[in-house]
């Protein structure tokens, strides 16, 4: 119960920060992607199911609030969460290299999917422009932010595991 509540609050906070604070700290009008960090982190730290659900709700809420196509972001984040959940158990989640790698891959894939479906379909064919101007800068900025945000999320998750089932939770899934 407490975990669900925390997750809901975390998702809401991320979305609100993404649409307000991220816009203030944007460099060259590129913002980092907090939601990818949240989704990948929880997929990695808690397994496929958590990753999927976190991603799904993150995406759904952004869709509801900003996009005209509901379900599009939800679908991407859902698969991102599932994908990163596959690395649960394979890597130790206190090692920052794995999340960094996963987040950069996910963010690039996210960017390419966005471009492919929302821009290429409308005849915007200059892929390399968008790659260099938006996808890669967004990834770099997100990576930098990961160093800070992942530590926070890691601490929150650890605390959740401690209070949930006496510290065994992260091993029994």
């Amino acid at each position: 119960m407490r975990r669900k509540l925390t997750m809901t609050v975390l998702i809401l906070i991320s979305i609100i920060l993404q649409s307000t604070v991220c816009q203030m700290i944007s460099i060259a009008s590129v913002k980092p992607n907090l939601l990818i960090i949240l989704t990948v982190s929880f997929g990695l730290m808690r397994g496929r199911r958590s990753g999927m659900l976190t991603g799904f709700f993150c995406g759904l809420l952004t869709d509801i609030f900003f996009n005209t196509i509901i379900g599009f972001n939800a679908l991407i984040y859902l698969w991102v969460g599932y994908f990163s959940g596959n690395f649960y158990r394979i890597f130790y989640d206190d090692d920052i290299k794995t999340p960094l790698f996963l987040i950069s891959v996910s963010d690039i894939v996210y960017g390419i999917v966005q471009y492919g479906f929302l821009f290429l379909m409308r005849g915007r064919i200059h892929f390399f422009y968008y790659l260099g101007r938006i996808i890669l800068p967004e990834m770099l900025y997100t990576l930098i932010l990961t160093f800070v945000v992942y530590q926070i999320l890691y601490a929150i998750n650890k605390k959740l595991c401690m209070t949930d089932r006496g510290g065994t939770d992260s091993f029994v899934s």
Binding site: L12, I15, I16, L17, Q18, S19, T20, V21, C22, Q23, M24, A28, S29, V30, K31, N33, L35, R48, R49, M52, L53, F56, L61, T62, D63, I64, F65, F66, N67, T68, I69, I70, G71, F72, A74, L75, L78, W79, Y82, G85, Q114, Y115, L118, F119, M121, R122, G123, R124, H126, Y129, Y130, R133, I134, E138, S173
Partner: protein
Amino acid sequence: MKKKTNDTLKNKSILIGLSVLCTGLIAVSFLENDAVSPLRQASGFVITPIQKGINGFGSWLSGLTDNFEDAVSLRKENEDLQAKVDTLTEENTQLVQDKEELTRLRELLSLDEQYDDYEKVGARVIAKESGNWFQLFTIDKGTSDGIQKDCNVISGGGLVGIVTEVGPNWATVRSIIDDNSNVSAMVSTTSDQCIIAGDLRLIDEGSLNLVKLTDSDNKVHVGDKVVTSYISEKFLPGILIGYISELNNDSNNLTKSGYITPVVDFRHLQEVLVILQRKEYVPSDSVSDNSGSSGTTGKAEASKESQAETPAQTETSTDSTDAQE
């Protein structure tokens, strides 16, 4: 071991179930846009007040730093402004005279001053779209202040965008620089019709695409004013968009295209004005009837533009109507 396989199976079924749900939602929002708006209303009700608060904090912070600005520069600015006031006063008297003449002439022409003063409401930008791909933003006023879908949004004397979604205390605005945005416009000097299309690749340069300009007399020049057209379905006529910065002949030699520089500074948009009056939606067949009665040239131009728009823009047409609806 068995538990593990069971778990994987369950995870897979959740994944597939949710994917199907998403696909369904995508289909629904493509086919029936209104079906999802209650969801938006509900989420906006929760999220908007928080965004407003956070943004208020942010502007308070930036206001704090502004206070440290040097007094010297302020004094200099004051001097400059004083000089400007002088010139403006001079200009103003001139303009007042011109205006009197204009009203006189208008009365002669028995034109209503219907586009002179729209009722407007000021609003603050409180959030921007979460990704880097689209240029949508949320403002802190909604239906309770009289804002409706398709209301035009202006700032600093120029067109900013159009309201695409509205809730009781918030509204989503699509800027004209958004990649999906297409605005029917005209060159104010010659009344030649064109289309102003947003392009993500031009945002850094601070310009917009100008396409399908019919200028058979070669009278349009760089620097000319571009305003919203009277044949636009969603935009009120005569709102300034920007100035032409580049103009080239298209390969078909019939139309021209180029770039315009918008008057609005989209990067530092904080406050906007929403025009409460909306352009009345008239079905397309009665539009041609109306313009037929008002004058043959208007009709000819209108039909020319709609012809120009249909064949080449089939790809973007669904999006563009979305953007303007």
